[in-house]
Symmetry: D2
Subunit: 377 residues, 4 copies
């Protein structure tokens, strides 16, 4: 088993996201960390890359340099991860796809819907993989939930209710902290704050588990800390193509919630519940029956849940290994397997469309609007 | 300590609500069950009342008979509970108030806003107590939550998030069961299904804990079981007079949720969380600090939480004793004490206004509307 | 339905136990509080009894006076509750039984095994009911657990593990508080501290759910606060007559545990788990299957669990209503029904034998000893 | 940062333990998988090693071959993990230590106390690291618990209560399954079944968190499935050198418990609670105060808890990364740092002494015995 070659752009020293990707890519021994442009300061990035074991000729000073360097090698990287500031995702992702690289892009994939559609088309044209890191979808018990829905085990889904709420931006005294403030400043974060940051994880999850897409939505946004221009709390009601009713709440001022990402799907014959702080259990209730706890690792789970679990029943596997599961799927897809569960550029552009639609709806006092990217209408 | 005299209208044999009130009224030895018109079938009601120990001359065949009988006695009842079908609450409550009785009315107090305003005026005019049985507000730890908010312990409340969702009407095959069907039939239930049934408990709770009132709202209703004319799932966004943002979800098709009534209040300096299935704990998180579990019965609680608890710390007290707490407050108020926490006719009419506004908003695609009764605008 | 007449000895003003019994006896309208000798100070007790609504001629100054007064009345009380200091239970219970009264005695029923055997014989001879207030056994879901075991739903029970541990006596600085100190002082508490106080609830529960009796035991006692003569922490291993292995831990210095009373029964084909802080759920796992949550009030429960529940599924019923369930069973037994689940004098003497055996075993470095009262060997 | 070179003995294809170690060693990019003797079938092991990316000259057919091959290389491995059947741990570990390799040995380190003492002496003599994989001790919140105890934050520990119980061997029909049966067969498992398998994790944890050692113990063993020669359920009471009272329960027939490993430490001024199924939270209660939830990743944690956490607050990190933390500590110790938290050969021999003492005590009806290895008396 030769390891695949992997490179990363962004994720420099001190970032949260860099270690998560390095661990995710390397945990299962599937990828070798081969190339990197890790910092916008060329020297800093090169030095850090070499400290992490990258050869000096593949420790690059910028993504452009890396693109040039890699595209002309016979042993070019098999996958590049884009973990740069949000506003740069589009340009870098597009350039690498066009040069024939597979890409894993951090969310949000782009800032606008148009850019997103552009990426979808480029990915199609080049037949390269363009994945977006909706890593929560790669938890084994989330895969189990999706597989159960697809197998009809809860019947047609009538209602999906999800929330992704935390309280880590709830301190008004800390609102000027640069690590917090930029998220609510349109010049840096774009049109949306909390919904674009956390809400789209929840919205992707709803689509992922229901195997359906958001068609229309109505939003209510609030800036509960008044100095914020963008929303720190949002409620989005939606309808999916198949008729499922959706409810999504996201907040960053919900003091006391830590990593409050939860999804509940209610179908004709059963209900499911999953929470990101207790990710190894899936709660299932058949209609008229008792609530059951489905454990990661138990017998009889669906294939995808089995495949993406490493240790025995009830031994918890956490967030970093959900990221690792994205890399497992990528390795598998690079090897030619079909991995329809892998979050794609289409998912990325749908998120962008949802963000822009929610912003518009909130401004229009909750008017219901078509939330699909034009290309998918 | 002479017991107060108590009578009930409705709550006949086989009802859920009758035993809950009898237990609530008698648990603490404050009331004696003295009179009753327990069934719309005169004979049945009289016979049952006597079996429950009521003297034959105060076992009545109808509420009208009871009104006549009681109002002319020197030893007339001190309190009457109205636990009849919803559509009759207004007429009976009004009649007893006008005759000078104190009334505890089951929710909803009335079917229309106008009727509700009428009750408020009659109660004021007669100076009689008219309470509405929002019994969840009488759990000790809900009183603690309200007292903490009033004392400023979480700062100004930015956001209140509540839901009251269960799955007990989630079986479409059971939808024709008469005990389920009427709730979704406008000829019996009025303008609203699940929101009027459970949602108004949650909305009252939001007002109760925040000590504030709903000013405007926007609603999204769904009949996820298509044979239902009225909604079985609803989302209501609202704003309170003081600016607090509100989010309320209620559902009866959330299979797997049993008694899913929860409220979270997020303020400037802390967050609170309470769940009706674990009512003896209140979860509190100071901003920037650790989540703490406040236990019913611990030292240092606010007065109202102490007063309404009967047994030592961590010995659970459940739903029937929350109802009993309403009767404790009633006994106290009848005795002349001020009990501003006791849910009042004003609360009852506010609920009705919220119901009618939510129905109208949902029909108008979520338009934001004034949710206050005209008399309180 | 005429109410039964009920009297209480002890449980005066300010006691914890008095209100619990008054609520338990009156909650369901089955008993009328008719007579009482509530305080060892005659005047105080009489005055308080009358304030609680007892007629002056049945407000007694002592239990002896009450015995004399009641036994000569035609309308004598149907049941007397003995809620006096532990050392007096034997004498009072015996006297009332011999005079032909039914008795509910607080635990411990006696201080010695010999006294316990005496009570058993008197109760048999007089054919009167002598119940002991192991009220946890009257929670609906505990009754469900017992019924499941009896129905063979978890197979033969291999292992029962129970603990009743709290931390409310964990503050050494508070150890001299008179309300705490007496429990560890042999001149007041007898031979055992925490095991006699809480442990015997757990041991009764093990017998109750397994429908079997403790045969032998080995104990390890510790006084973790060194000023205490009696144990504040104890571990008891035991074997039941049918071969079930038992493990019982009880502590009063387990800081952070509030009302930590839990029981787990593991059989050949399944396991059960119940916790007194979440008493409305019973956790059940069939061997090789998924854990299920059995809810009080759900369909298909065993008769006894249905009979002793008052409100709908998932509406919590707490500790005071478990006490009320003991009174329901008493009313039923007084009416002539067989109530084998009602904790009896035999249970009372078995507890005493367990206490004395555990004390002896702990002194003998954990030697295994016969734990049965001589009369049951 | 050059990666350290790592080899493994055992952990072949299809084993549970192999992937756990490979992930643990590689997750953080600290070790390179350089050499291996992965299977007792030479060809199979060599082939598998190469498939995992090991060079053909370092894919060995046996541990002896690997020892010869590696000890003569200049670029010899920095660390070898011994993950072979239990009975072979001693021989292999000793041989590699004597040849100057650092070793991580799976538990149990040896089968006898004498062998364990031998290892301790060899490790001392060679000044090589000999660690034992008590990986639960490397969860960040377990490190936090230990650090809190060492800092005196709960005062002197009066009582430690731990259990490690599951139900995965509870099916008697499955008892002949070879993967289950060997654990209860003395010819394969040695003197103890469940206590040696899981109990010693719990006992190590008690020592680890209390920073103290078990001095004496008394055991009660049971084979609840009668075909088993060794125990499937055990209770061990113990006393630590500093006087702490200990209680340890371990079972493999506790149907419904999945990964039921829990520890509670109760001190003079507070209590702590940690559970392996929810490893990212530590529950803390100050005496007389409210229970608090300490979250992995929150501000103000002790150094060791900070160092061994990779992702933000409330993002769960599970079992494989606890193993990875052992490798982090090993890399650090190989680099010369002091890592007193790393489980050592001394811990390994103490476990063996506890196992043999518990077996002897159980045979002697629970007699209290000295549980220390002779070398540490």
């Amino acid at each position: 088993m030769t390891k695949l070659k992997w490179g990363m752009i962004g994720g420099g020293e001190g970032s949260q996201i860099g270690p998560a990707h390095r661990l995710g890519a390397q945990a299962d021994g599937l990828f070798e960390f081969t190339a990197g442009a890790l910092d916008h300061r060329a020297d800093v990035g090169k030095e850090y890359a070499q400290r992490l074991g990258i050869a000096s000729d593949r420790a690059y000073g910028s993504w452009q340099e890396m693109l040039e360097g890699e595209k002309n090698r016979d042993d070019r990287i098999d996958l590049v991860t884009v973990a740069t500031p949000n506003a740069t995702h589009f340009e870098i992702t597009k350039a690498f796809l066009e040069a024939g690289f597979n890409v894993l892009c951090e969310k949000p994939m782009t800032m606008s819907v148009e850019e997103g559609e552009d990426i979808v088309r480029v990915a199609e044209k080049t037949s390269k993989i363009c994945a977006v890191n909706y890593c929560y979808s790669a938890y084994p018990m989330v895969r189990q939930a999706r597989a159960m829905v697809q197998a009809g085990e809860i019947g047609k889904v009538r209602l999906v209710v999800t929330n992704f709420s935390h309280g880590h931006h709830g301190d008004a005294g800390d609102a000027d902290n640069p690590r917090v403030r930029w998220r609510y400043d349109p010049s840096m974060a774009g049109v949306s704050g909390q919904f674009a940051d956390c809400g789209i994880h929840a919205m992707h999850m709803a689509s992922f588990i229901c195997n359906d897409e958001v068609e229309t939505l109505s939003a209510d946004f609030a800036s509960t800390i008044s100095s914020r221009e963008l929303e720190d709390d949002a409620m989005v009601n939606f309808r999916m193509t198949g008729g499922t009713v959706g409810r999504l709440w996201t907040s960053s001022v919900a003091i006391g919630r830590q990593h409050g990402f939860e999804i509940q799907a209610f179908g004709e014959t059963g209900g499911l519940r999953w929470h990101a702080e207790q990710p190894n259990q899936l709660i299932y209730t058949p209609v008229g029956g008792r609530t059951q706890i489905i454990e990661k690792g138990e017998g009889g789970l669906h294939d995808d849940a089995v495949r993406l679990s490493r240790v025995a029943i009830a031994h918890p596997e956490g967030f970093p290994l959900a990221v690792a599961n994205i890399y497992c799927d990528l390795a598998s897809a690079i090897g030619g397997a079909k991995r329809p569960e892998l979050p794609s550029a289409a998912d990325g552009v749908r998120s962008m469309a949802a963000v822009h639609t929610a912003v518009a709806s909130a401004k229009a006092d909750g008017e219901w609007m078509d939330a699909r990217p034009p290309m998918f209408r």
